[in-house]
């Protein structure tokens, strides 16, 4: 890298880290939202069974 390796490689490593964090956090966010939605539906179904509104 012509003497610039200590600047170039950290840039690419940090970019990889940021892209990986984006993917991981987006997946986690979606999974948490799906879980909340599922629980909300189960609660609504249980309330309907008991005849509560």
């Amino acid at each position: 890298m012509g003497g610039y390796a200590r600047f170039v490689w950290p840039c690419f490593a940090f970019a990889a880290l940021v892209l990986a964090w984006n993917l991981w956090s987006a997946h986690r966010y979606l999974a948490a939202a799906q879980l909340r939605a599922r629980r909300s539906l189960q609660t609504a179904a249980a309330m309907a069974e008991r005849g509560e509104s």
């Binding site: 170039v8 940090f14 892209l19 984006n22 987006a26 939202a33 799906q34 909340r36 909300s40 539906l41």
Partner: protein
């Protein structure tokens, strides 16, 4: 006349489209970013002035462009939600903010690492650097404002207003190198006429830019699905979407 638009922007349509598009965006992003990294690090020749340090451009420039693109998308989505009362606009804006903030941070860090060997310093209160830092603060402000209200609808409106006001910073960032004396180099790719870059250096850069855009699309789709589910938890269509 606008019925098709409202149908297209309905939460179930957006949720389904986002789920279908994600793997395509991700696959194409992996291909274009992979090509850009290999071509940019291995095959592109060193710059005659900056040597191999110029290779930082392959992550710095796309992340800086995406920081502006993402902010503009967030402001446009917020404006659509405020003007036409299309709820999905707020969801798009909320999904776009953390992605844009991360690209802004990446642009600042890689720019700083590029500045050290070229300018002799990691940071200077230069117009381009300072306005990009303000962009990061704007992203943080928009995200904080959205979550600061107990009523999510009020949080959405306040965040959309701040995003729209803050969009004035986007042309300031872009034209800062022309309007003021700046350490930062001027436009090389987005120049009217011929880009001031050899094609062997330009191709990997364009590939990385395209790859970052596709990656943004993929992450936006994932986050958008989460946003839509959080906002529509009680809706009937959510049951079918969750069970499928």
């Amino acid at each position: 006349m606008w019925t098709w638009f409202y149908k297209l922007a309905s939460p179930p349509s957006v949720y389904g489209a986002a789920a279908a598009l994600t793997p395509w965006f991700l696959g194409l992003a992996a291909l274009t970013i992979g090509y850009g990294v290999v071509d940019g690090l291995v095959f592109a020749p060193p710059d005659y002035q900056q040597g191999d340090a110029f290779r930082i451009v392959y992550v710095h420039a796309p992340s800086a462009w995406m920081s502006l693109f993402s902010y503009t998308s967030m402001a446009v989505a917020g404006a659509i939600a405020l003007i036409w009362r299309i709820k999905i606009g707020h969801a798009v804006a909320a999904a776009s903010a953390p992605i844009g903030a991360s690209f802004t941070l990446l642009a600042l860090v890689t720019g700083s690492l590029w500045g050290r060997p070229m300018w002799g310093t990691y940071w200077a209160w230069d117009p381009r650097l300072t306005s990009e830092l303000i962009l990061l603060f704007l992203y943080v402000g928009v995200m904080s404002l959205r979550s600061a209200f107990e009523d999510p609808a009020r949080g959405d409106r306040a965040a959309a207003l701040l995003a729209i006001v803050g969009v004035v910073n986007v042309p300031i960032i872009h034209f800062s190198v022309q309007w003021w004396n700046s350490l930062h180099q001027g436009a090389t790719v987005a120049k009217i006429g011929k880009p001031a870059m050899a094609l062997s250096m330009l191709w990997p850069l364009l590939s990385m830019l395209f790859g970052f855009m596709l990656f943004y699309g993929a992450v936006l789709c994932l986050r958008l699905r989460g946003e839509v589910l959080n906002r529509e938890r009680q809706a009937n269509w959510v049951r079918e979407a969750i069970e499928s």
